[in-house]
Each structure stands twice: as C-alpha cells, then as structure tokens.
Symmetry: C3
Subunit: 340 residues, 3 copies
C-alpha cells in the first residue's frame, strides 16, 4: 500500500517535501503517458466527490478530467443544493455528511473561499472538520488560506522551464491591481512551496497589502534554513531586478472580511487606486529573462499587460495544464494502492 | 433475460416479496464484491437519467455512484432547467419527454416531493404518467408518497444487525419533532416493507400526525396476515417497550398541503410544540437493546439526541451505505440482462 | 489519422457534402451496433466539454450520452458559474479559456442563443472566436444561426423513412404559431442541409416571418444547382400540396432582437395572432403521404395538432434518437483517430 494512501491534502505544510516531490514526478510521467493503461485503471469505477461552495472554471474541469483519466468519475456537487447544517439553518452535521460520503466515494475535494465564508480562516476550519470525521482523503480545491494543487502545478511548470533544480532561482511575488478581489489562497500556497524548493523569495506589494503573518513567518524560515534571500518591499523594480519568475496577481487587504462578510466592492475600489501596480514589459525587462506565471483566470490590463500575458515567457497555459496532472497524481497516490 | 428487466419501481407494493428479497440478496453480494468484474460491466457505456425536481444529498450521491460502479454513467438533471410543460407554462409533454429519454437511457430516476408539488399525491401521479409512456424502467428516488429504495436499504441494515430472519422482530416508528418538515415518503415506505417481512409494527405519534390511511390499511393487513402485532398510539413509552428497532423521524400533518402549496413554516411551528417527542437515551432504555435507524439527514437535537444518533446501536451510516447497494442491485436487475 | 480530425462544426456550410454523408453513414452503423467494442473505446478516458449558456433537454442528454457511449465523459458546464469576461464585467478572455480547455478536453460543445445574446449573430461570433483560439474541435450545440447536429439527425431520419436517395423529394418548411418564441437555428440548419441533399424546398410563412437572407440565398443556389424547386409563399396549402416531408415549427420575426435584447413576450403575442398557422390533419392530407418532422420540444396545439404529432407518419422520436448517433459519429471523426 502506498505510504500516502488515505492522507488529506489541505496545505503542503502537512506533507514532507519528499512526498511532494513524488507527486510532481508522478505528474510528470502522467503528462508523458496521459492515457496509458498503467494510470487509467487506478480509480476504475470509483467515485471522487467534489464540493464546490464557490464556482470555478479550471478547478472543476481539471479535477473532473483527472477522475475520468484515472478511470473513475467525479461528482459535481454544489452545497447550495445540499441540506447541510449552518449557523442559521437546520440540516446535516459535518460528522454525518463526512461519514456517509466516506461510504460512497474514495476522496472528497472541497472549495470554499471569498463570499462563502464570514471570516478569514473559516474555510480552513471547515476542511479540518471534514478531515476529522472523514474516512477518505480530503483535498483542498482552494480555500481561504491555501490552494496546494495550484502550487504543485506551479512547481511542475518551473521545473519544465527552469530545470529540475530550482535551488537558488529567484521568485518574485508581485501584487497587481485588479477588478476581481482575489483571495490569498494561491499566492500563499506559492510562498509556502516555492520556499521549500530552495528558491529566493521576494514580495512586492503596496502598503496595506500584507498577507497572513503565519505564512510569511513559515516562508521566511524556509528561506533562512536554505540560506536563501527573503524580502518584502513596496518597490516593484527592486523585486523584479534579476528575477527568474514573476508571479503577479491581485489579492485583497487583510481587511476584506469585516462585519462577518467579504467586501468585494470595497476591495476592488481600493485596489484600482494603485494604477502603477501592473506587470508590464518595462518591468519584465529588469528580470533575468524571467518567466511570467499566474494561476488564472488573468485580469488582463489590470494584473498584467496583454503583451506579457501572451509573451513567449508566459507559462500560464502549461501551468493550467499541470493542474490536471498534479491532481491526478495526488488522487492516485492518496486514493488507490498506486505507489508511484 | 431477467424476470425483472424493464420493471418500474415506484412502490414496493407493486413488486412480489420474492423479487424484493432478490434485490436485497444481490445488494448484499454487491457490498462484499463491490468492484468485482461481474458487476462493473452490467451497465457499461449506458446512461441512467436522474431527474431531481428536489435537491438531495445521499440520493444523488448514491445513485450516481451506483451507475459508475456498474460501468455506466448517471446524468444529473434538474427540471428547473428542463423545458417541461406545466399547468402554467408551455413546454414539452410527459409523453414526448418519456419517449425521447427511452431512446437515450436505460433507466430514469425521478425525485419529486415537498414544495415541488401542489397536493399530496401529485408526485405519484407524475411518476405513473412517466411510467405509462416510458420504454425504460422508472425508479422513484423519493416522491411524496413513497421512497422504496430507502426501505430496501433499511431492511438490508436490519438483516445485518438482527439476522436474516426479521419475522417477529418489533419495529417502532416514532414521530419526532423537527425543524425541517419531512414528507411521508420514507416512513410510509418503511411501514409497507417492514410489515411484509413479518415484523411487528408500532406507530407512536401525537394527535394530528396520522399518515396516509391507505398505507396504514395495507400495513395493518400485512401484520394480520402474518399474525403480527400492529398498533398506533400517542404513548411513546408503550411503543418503545421491548422494541428491536426504533425509527424516529419527523413528518408533517395531513394538512401540510393546502391552498395548492406545501406549508413548511407552519409545519415546523406546529411540530416544535411537541418538545417531548424526541428519541433519547431514556426511551431507548425501554427497548430490547433496540437499534436506532433513520433515513438521514438527521435533525440532531430535535428528532433524536446526539447521544442516541452517535451510539453503538445507531446503524444510520450502514443504512446510508446500503442505499448504494440496493440501488445498484435494482438497476442491474431492471436495466440489464443480469439475473442475480 | 482521420481527414476530419480537429475540424470544427459550426455550420454544415463549412463542410464538404461527402464528409457530411460520412457522418450520417457512421451514425447509421453506430445505431445498429450501439455498444459495440469498435465504438466504446474511441474516446476512452477523454473529456468532452459542454458549455450550456442556454439550458436544453435533448441536447444535453444526447451529447452527454454520446460521450459515455464512446467511452469518455462529458462535463456539463453552465457559464453562469464560469467567470468569463463580458462587456459588463471583468473576467477571463476567450483566448485564455479556449487555450486552457484545449489542454483538458478533446472537444468543446457550445450552446448559445435566444436571451443569452444581445443581437442576432452574436452567438455565431462567439463560436468563431472560440474556434480561433481552440486547439480542439468546437461543435455547435445550437446557436442563434445554426444547429448543424439537428439537421444531420433530420437527414438520417429521412433516409430511414424515405430511402437513402433524397434527390427530388419535396420538403415543406412551414411556420407555426407558438408560445415559446423559437430561434432560427434549427430551421435554418434544415434549409442549408436538405437543399444540399437535392430536395425540393418550399417555405410557407406569414408576412413578416422571413429568415436570414444569407441562408435563403444559399438554399436557393443549392436548389438551382441541383435543378430543384424552391419557393417561399404565404399560402400553406400551396406548400403542403404533394410534399414528402412537413417540418412545421415556430420561429420569431427578424425583429425579435432590438435594443440589445431578445423580446420573447412580444414575439409570442405576435405569433398567436396567426391562429390558422398550425400543422393539422386537414393540411397533411394534401401531402403525398408526407412525414411530419420536428426538432422538439413540440408545442402541441400550437405548432402542430396532437393528432399529427402522435400519428404514424410522425418521425419525431426517431429524429430525436438520431441526435445521439450523429453526435457520436461527429465526435468520433473529429476528436479521435477513427476514420469511419
């Protein structure tokens, strides 16, 4: 039986680095041998359950395709039509729901963030509560704090374009203005994982856009442990200078949740005051022929110029494709007897 | 060809007892050999159509997983997005819809109850109309009158925990207060089927909570035929005393439908006046080490105490799992050439 | 590799006649050998993506079943829950969406018409934009201008009931009153394709119900090239006289879109003024024992009488079934290496 069988993936912090490398290596082989017999039986006739509290494009498509390619089937479930107990209404407890789903499926993916929660951290709490009662692996399909699959897909993309050894490569996480008020899940997942792979980490953001202090602390410690650079600045040029990868994305202020709600419009309004915070050709020229990376969907014209997003150095479609492969690999390793 | 091929399952009353036993025996073997080759080809590449007028958790998950495990695929269809003819709007007739679906799929499940109908009995009428035109089996996924799959799952659970011979075991159906205004489908299906298996039947409910007189009449006759006990009481203790199984669930008054609508709020309000009508540890002590059974979702704290619902004698998760197996068995026997 | 692999199908005008005949011939064999091994592996473990901007009954069921029968899986996606960029809101561009979907799936079906677009032609433009960026075939599942799969299913039905040579058979397209304000997609697709198969074409409609002039022009030219009859009349009897097939369906006036919106209620009101425009037994008696054909759903009592719709000469269910087969054939030929 695989060492990873039965394991939840809520954040990469819960997994050993070797096991994360294993996921990526399996995913790389799955990409090469996409419909090979060795993979298409792993979840044959099995059900993977997907709980989308929030809608999604890529996440839904890539998880559902992953189950299909492993021979199984993913059920698309939207909790608006599930009678779950909430603070305000009678219904089923997580204990009951998780116990029953453990009888029907081999894994459960959950997506919950933005307006579907009342306070930052509530999504993580819900996933942890499911994990407490579930007999099958709980997989984050993005929640308020982390998006582990996105960060694994990122690393797979960087290995392809920068080489398998990412040690000492420089990663710039740059805040971008935007009309969509993005949550912290993808960028925080990136910080956690890129730093573990030995990359230098630079964060450029305007005053008032700090991320979760625990994530920053963890990232900083990884960089220190690895003897790598870590800094946060409000000077974009400083962060781009000589970098190998620029990840420019919008995210909200720490004040996005207040009075028990997510304030999207307020955040968009604040964000659009920072008109200079866009990843454009001028800034990319400061890098060391840097790649452009982004979890998509891209807010073109706000986060990044069309020119950069559609340039040769943009690896966005490769990374989007990798979502499929790393998810397949994770599902195979945690939900079947496959050992990699 | 299987004797049962092509047969509708709208209520267990339409089936011979031997055929219902066959479903359960096949389900028991399917549980033991869940992904065995002998079962995973039965609906290979076939489509099972699911019409959810009302949303559902377990029913959707278990039917969709059943189709997957038989090698086929269940389509999740919500009639809000179907252009069917209604009293109020132009659209397609049941004759046309049923004839066309018979060309695409090998079976059609329908769920319709509560606020999706105007009068008690309308759901049953709709299923019967589909059955009239359909060339493929119509399966109730719960409607206003019956929920045959739930009752088959119940019996499979009782056989596991009380032994295969249920003859003479005592079944207590107890009304419970609740915040969710449950329809009569599951409890009526239980009365019809448990009585056929030779069980003693006791119903405890407050004044004003009588069920469909036809169902009561049928149940009573089964008990008489089998020489078994049957009574209805408003004394909970009398009904629990020495019982082998307690099924405590909320249901509405016969007045839930009036003026062409389902009055959920009224029913919840009435129900919550009966604060003593809960299945708790004190009452369970009166039983003969009785099992607790429930179709889920459970309204913990209203229908039943947490202590009882999570106790060793609670078989709710087993029964929920059985939904999958009895549905697989029914689909295999009515939609393929499988003979059991 | 199949000559047709990778080809989009937005309108039959983009395809050579031989290739359309090939689709129908493959479909005819697929009907005879519905679950044969030679077909059930063609899309094994592959994903077909379905974008339903508008809901649908038959289209959804038949495409999803088609993918299942080819061994693959169709994802049911409703763009209300997709974060695509629109004129009014930030979101993803078609360039980005199409590029990413090309990594996950082997084909993309799109349905967009009626109230989901602002002007006649916008649906076609969207499909063409997807086709521009997509690396996988784009298939129309009905859009404002055409519904190519419906017309292929029609021809397959006519070949069964009139014989394989349709040359010189007479086709009457008759407008019918209706309570549902139908778009032009199905009837225009019929004109384009029936005329190419050498049929005589007659259109009967009241003043004010002309179709797209480009479609009429194309149809007329086909008829001229083939030496066949073509006329438009407001005299129903003239159009029915001696005809082999009557296709009676409601469609909107050219004024259905104005002020950037689709005006359903206006169209229904206008339509119902023409109470005599119904296909009934009296008119069918004028035909040469003509077939009745319709893309469904039928508005019985408006477009056509119950008597005609349910008569022996009505081939509506056969044609509805054919949707499945021609879609399977098209998917096999454009998305796999199958050569027919």
């Amino acid at each position: 039986m695989s060492k990873l069988k039965g394991k939840h993936l809520i954040t990469t912090m819960d997994w050993e680095l070797d096991d994360l490398v294993k996921v990526i290596e399996v995913a790389e082989d799955m990409q090469k041998n996409r419909y090979a017999d060795k993979y298409t039986k792993l979840l044959a006739f099995r059900t993977f359950l997907m709980f989308f509290y929030n809608p999604s494009v890529r996440t839904r498509q890539s998880f559902e395709a992953a189950a299909t390619e492993l021979g199984g089937h993913a059920q698309f479930l939207e909790p608006k039509s599930m009678r779950l107990k909430t603070a305000k209404s009678a219904g089923e407890t997580v204990e009951d729901a998780a116990n029953v789903m453990s009888r029907y499926g081999v894994g459960l993916g959950i997506r919950i963030l933005e307006s579907k929660i009342a306070h930052y951290g509530d999504g993580e709490k819900l996933l942890r509560e499911y994990a407490k009662y579930s007999k099958i692996p709980i997989i984050s399909m993005a929640h308020d704090k982390y998006h582990p699959m996105q960060s694994l897909a990122d690393i797979m993309g960087l290995r392809k374009h920068l080489g398998k050894n990412l040690e000492g490569k420089t990663f710039t996480l740059a805040w971008g203005k935007g009309a969509l008020a993005r949550s912290w899940s993808s960028v925080q997942a990136a910080l956690l994982l890129y730093s573990r792979f030995g990359m230098n980490v630079r964060i450029a953001r305007p005053e008032g856009y700090d991320l979760d202090p625990e994530v920053i602390e963890y990232t900083k410690k990884q960089c220190e442990k690895n003897g790598k650079e870590f800094f946060i600045t409000d000077n974009q040029e400083e962060a781009y200078e000589g970098s190998n990868v620029v990840y420019c994305r919008n995210w909200t202020t720490p004040n996005a949740y207040h009075d028990g709600e997510f304030h999207k419009e307020e955040e968009v309004e604040k964000s659009l005051k920072h008109q200079d915070w866009i990843c454009d050709e001028r800034k990319m020229k400061l890098t060391n022929d840097g790649l452009f990376i982004h979890p998509m969907p891209i807010d073109r014209g706000n986060e990044v110029s069309d020119e950069v997003a559609s340039s040769k150095r943009s690896i966005i479609y490769d990374v989007a494709e990798n979502r499929l492969h790393v998810q397949k690999a994770t599902m195979a390793l945690t939900m079947s007897d496959f050992e990699g």
